[in-house]
Amino acid sequence: MTNLTDPPRESFRLSMLLNDTRYRSLTFQAIAAIVLALAIWELGGNLAQNLRAAGLNISLSFMSDPAGYDINQRLVEYDSQSSHARAALVGILNTLLVAFLACITATVFGVIAGVLRLSNNWLVSKVMAFYVEIFRNIPVLIWILIIYTIMTSVMPGPRAFRGDNATSSMLFDRFAFTNRGIYIPMPWFENGIFGNPTLNWLLVIAGLIGSWIGARSVTRWANQKQEMTGQRPNTLWIKLAIWLVPFVLLMVIMGLSWEIPALKGFNFKGGIKIGGPLIALWFALSIYTGAFIAENVRAGIQAVSKGQTEAAAALGLRANRVMNLVILPQALRVIIPPLISNYLNITKNTSLAILVGYADITATLGGITLNQTGRAIECVLLLMLFYLTASLLISMAMNIYNSSVKLKER
């Protein structure tokens, strides 16, 4: 009989810290922790010393001081007596505005160019390939500058619209394209239900959301009916009515009318002014990112194998049903992840606004406020915090959407 015994327990030796896989990772992490702590200690020490030498301290109290500068393009009330925090808020809203607009138009450009690049028309696909290559390979900064130059030095000044022999005229007598920006008519309500115009607009938005919910429930009802009877009721007219009737009614009741921009003095007054910097940034970002999205769209459509189209055709589906039910859902799965990162890129690239003087968060908080107060550390950290939050929120929202269209695997 042999007795099986455990091998003698090895006592702990110092060399095991490096040679024994059980302890090695602990050693490395301890070293990393020490190095990290030393680095933070060193950097923090330098920071404290430098701040003391410069007579500064870290505090955010400057945010409530009056900013003392004007901002042309703004979505909320602001004047030069408002605080730096208010200026930062104006900047944040401007960043979000241009990012939102550019995401929408970039998607439109990208989808059109991506689909047309796959066209069997040789000329059209070559033109689109040219567009994609030109815009992808030249820095967006140069595009912003080029379009801003077009806006400021090619467009006519307001003076050109004056007099009997004016060299420029307004488009349809409603839109004015000048070197200070584009003026478009502004809708307003003559007899709104509420006294406050904001509340009236909120009512319109609430109405539209109601219509959307109504249209969704009609679709659900049609789906149920189709499951039960095999017949799909025609919902087009019902949906059209649900969208249009409440909207038109609201507009009629509240008395929609348009404030048309007109030349008064040296400049246009009235209507909505879209400043040149905003247009330059918006257009440059959308056309630049559109080229990237076009490539994603093309890759997504090409990723759906030809057999899918043929199988759908063999089932007797019409061309548009093939697109809607078979190709797009599968292509979207490939398109959406890179689309998310393109939206993130747009949001981050809006920071180039500082080049053309558009008052986004980088230009207000990271530009004028930083220079006026000298609070470099606080301003830059707040700026980074904003972009980090925005990036995380966007990628979260888009990931939720992505998981909703993702292939449901068992």
Binding site: N46, S119, N121, L123, N137, I142, S153, G366, A376
Partner: protein, 431 residues
């Protein structure tokens, strides 16, 4: 027998009819046009619209380019020569050529130095890009950074020499001890390099740069397209090793190391490059020792390197994730330890998969080097927006300058992306 029968039937042809050519609409240009441009009504309309657009663009640009003036010395002279005709004023490019390429402060008698450095760069980069070239050339690639530094910045040759000797010593130590234990070789190499640098740095006499063979050029005098190229090449090459380290760290099962890498990568990827450049220009100085003066170029290189390292790390992580798990297990079962497995099995394959992604990051980064003009460094865009457009002679010459900048970037970036596609086809073994 059959002959006679054939001859006897009147309606059977006795000889083969010669092949007639296909109808005109089924051959050559006509067929191509019909199939590619006018296959349906929609296609026809699209073709006409596209042709009209092309006509508009060409009608606007061609006369402008061909009437271009190359020899005047100011915009007003250009206008005199043109006498109201449309035409470009390319003289701004010829007159300010040196400023556009080297910036406005780089000493004129030293222009040959960056030129030589650029040519040598092409030689040094060739063996990295094309695997068929002799591997011995990689030795020159290893020496190149020090030569380029000495050529561009000038000053004493001792400084780059000491740094180079430090790296050589580290490599020797790693060769000697790295075989038996990676950690000993690695950390020993770092320690030896640090010793060489400290001792060597102390040995360089003060004022060694004063009467150097190549006069020293401070880095604030660098500018123009040269600055873009330098930032792009330096930051990409520095960020690849850093990116590999970050990617491996992110895959590590040590929570602390993984945590550090994840936070670093996600933080850098969540903020725009411009805020990092603000950090470099206004904030980083607070974190260095009070008496040290780290110049702006180095600070910008640090921040851009960190920026691109985070993106490259994500690309390489994709490559690591794409490797089949069997490769990791095979390396383990051969008894390789972690550094060996990574060096010999995993990384060569993972890097090969990630090359197109890395090239994409490199192209993006090269385009992003134009952002340094925001923190008042005079790169190509900075030169255009600053000294050239602000000068009285050339105030208002937008299209020629922006067109030139766009063309330069397009040539470089398009070239790199074509290389990447060529490499992808070459590496695709089609298993």
């Amino acid at each position: 027998m059959s002959d006679s029968q054939n001859n006897s039937v009147a309606f059977v042809a006795t000889e083969v009819i010669p092949q007639s050519p296909p109808p005109a609409r089924e051959t050559g240009v006509v067929k191509w046009l019909r199939e590619n441009l006018f296959s349906s009504v929609t296609n026809g309309v699209l073709t006409v619209v596209a042709l009209y657009l092309i006509y508009l663009v060409l009608a606007a640009t061609l006369p402008w380019i061909f009437n271009g003036i190359w020899t005047t010395s100011s915009l007003s002279e250009c206008r005199e020569v043109l006498q109201g005709k449309t035409g470009a004023c390319f003289s701004v490019l010829t007159e300010r050529w040196h400023q556009l390429i080297y910036g406005f402060k780089y000493p004129a008698d030293a222009y040959w130095r960056p030129n030589l450095a650029f040519v040598l760069m092409l030689v040094a980069i060739a063996p990295v890009l094309f695997f068929d070239l002799p591997r011995k050339l990689l030795l020159f690639t290893a020496v190149y950074p020090f030569i380029a530094f000495w050529l561009i910045w000038g000053g004493t040759i001792l400084a780059p020499l000491v740094v180079f000797v430090g790296f050589v010593a580290a490599a020797v130590v790693f060769q000697k001890f790295g075989r038996s234990s990676f950690a000993v070789g690695f950390f020993g190499g770092i320690a030896v390099a640090l010793v060489v640098w400290t001792v060597g740095g102390a040995l360089i006499p003060d004022g060694a740069s004063d009467n150097a063979l190549l006069p020293a050029v401070p880095s604030r005098d660098l500018g123009g397209f040269m600055l873009n190229l330098m930032l792009g090449v330096t930051c990409v090459s520095l960020s690849i090793p850093l990116g590999i380290a970050l990617a491996l760290g992110r895959q590590s099962d040590m929570p602390l190391i993984k945590g550090i890498c994840v936070v670093f990568i996600e933080f850098i990827r969540g903020v725009p490059l411009i805020t990092l450049l603000f950090v470099a220009s206004v904030m980083l100085a607070y974190f260095f020792p009070p008496e040290s003066t780290v110049d702006l170029f180095l600070r910008v290189v640090i921040m851009i390197t960190m920026f691109s390292a985070a993106y490259i790390a994500e690309v390489i992580r994709g490559g690591l994730a794409a490797l089949p798990k069997g490769q990791y297990e095979a390396a383990d079962s051969l008894g390789l330890d972690y550094p060996q497995a990574m060096r010999l099995i995993i990384l060569p394959q993972a890097l090969k998969i990630s090359i197109p992604g890395i090239v994409n990051v490199a192209v993006g980064l090269f385009k992003d080097t134009t952002l340094v003009s925001v923190i008042s460094m005079f790169d190509l865009v900075g030169m255009i927006r600053g000294p050239i457009l602000a000068s009285t002679e050339w105030n208002g010459v937008y299209w020629e300058l922006f067109g030139f900048a766009a063309l330069l970037f397009f040539v470089v970036c398009y070239g790199i992306s074509q290389y990447s596609q060529w490499l992808e086809r070459k590496l695709h073994k089609g298993h």
